[in-house]
C-alpha cells in the first residue's frame, strides 16, 4: 500500500530549509559586499561563483534534486553542460572577434 506513497521519502525537515534560506541570505550579503571591492576581472567571476553556489543550494534542497532519482540529476547536469558549451563557443568566437 505504501508504494504509491513514494512521495513520503521526498520529505525534507523544516530546519534544513531554514538553514538553506539563511545561507542564501548570507551569500547575497557576500555578493553585495564583494561587489564594492574592485578585483578587476575577478569581480564578475566572484559574482558568478556565488550565484552558482546559491543556485546549487536551491536546486538540491528547495527543488528536492537531492531526494530525486538519479535520472533527474543526470538530466539537469546534461542541460547545464549544454549551456556551458554554448557559452564557451560563444566566447571562443567573440574574444577572437575583438582581436581582428
Amino acid at each position: 500500500m505504501d508504494k504509491h506513497h513514494s512521495n513520503i521519502e521526498h520529505a525534507h525537515s523544516y530546519t534544513i530549509y531554514i538553514w538553506v534560506w539563511i545561507s542564501l541570505l548570507a551569500l547575497t550579503g557576500v555578493t553585495v559586499a564583494v561587489a564594492g571591492i574592485n578585483f578587476g576581472a575577478f569581480t564578475i567571476a566572484a559574482a558568478l561563483i556565488i550565484a552558482s553556489v546559491k543556485s546549487y543550494l536551491v536546486l538540491t534542497i528547495f527543488m528536492h534534486l537531492r531526494l530525486e532519482m538519479k535520472a533527474f540529476r543526470v538530466f539537469v547536469a546534461v542541460a547545464l553542460l549544454f549551456v556551458i558549451i554554448s557559452f564557451t563557443l560563444l566566447f571562443a568566437d567573440y574574444s577572437f572577434l575583438s582581436l581582428r
Binding site: 508504494k3 504509491h4 520529505a11 530549509y17 538553506v20 547575497t28 546559491k54 536551491v58 538530466f75 566566447f91
Partner: protein, 206 residues
Amino acid sequence: MSTQEQAVVHVHRDDIGSRMGMWLFLFTELLLFGGLFFLYSVYRFMHQADFHVAAKELNVLVGTFNTAILLTSSLTMALSITALQRNNKKLSVFFQLCTILLAVAFLVNKYFEWMTKIHHGIYPGSDEYLAMESGRRLFFALYYVMTGLHALHVIIGMVLISVMTRFTVRNVITHDNYVKLEAAGLYWHLVDIIWIFLFPLFYLIT
C-alpha cells in the same frame, strides 16, 4: 478488489513522471532566459565601460531587498510542501499565502523601481534614451526585457500558486497527493534562480 483499485491509481498517477515533465518544461525556460543571458554577455563584453556607467543608475538597495524577498518566498514555498507532507493543511495554506504575498511585495518594488527610471526619462524611445551611448542603451533595453520577462514569470507563478492554494483548501491537493503543488514549487524556485543571476549582473557591476 484492492488490486483493481491499485491498478486504477497507477493508471492515473505517476508522480515521478509528472515531476520529470515539469523539469523538462523548466529546461525550455533555461533556453528562453539562456538566450537573453547570451545577449547580455556579448553586449557587456563589447561595451564594458558603458555597462558599468549604466549599472550605477540602478538602486542596489532596492535590488538587494527584492532578492531577500524572493529568497524568502522560495523558503515559504518549500515549507508549504513539508507542511502538507506532515498533513498540516492549515500551515501549508498559510505558507502558500505568504509566498503569494511576498510575490506581490516583489512586484510592487519592481513597479516603483521601473517608475523611477521612467520618470527620469530612461525608457526605450525617450529623448534621453536616444541620446545615450549605444552601450548604455543596450544595458537599459536588456534591463527592461530581462527583468520584465522575469516579472511576467513572477505573475504567472503567483497565479499558479493561488490555484494550488484553492486546490489545497478544496482537498484536490492532499497530504498524499501533492505533486501539483510540487510542480508549482519547482516553477517558483526556477524564477528564484533566474533572479539570483539577474541581480549581480544588473545591479552589482559598478
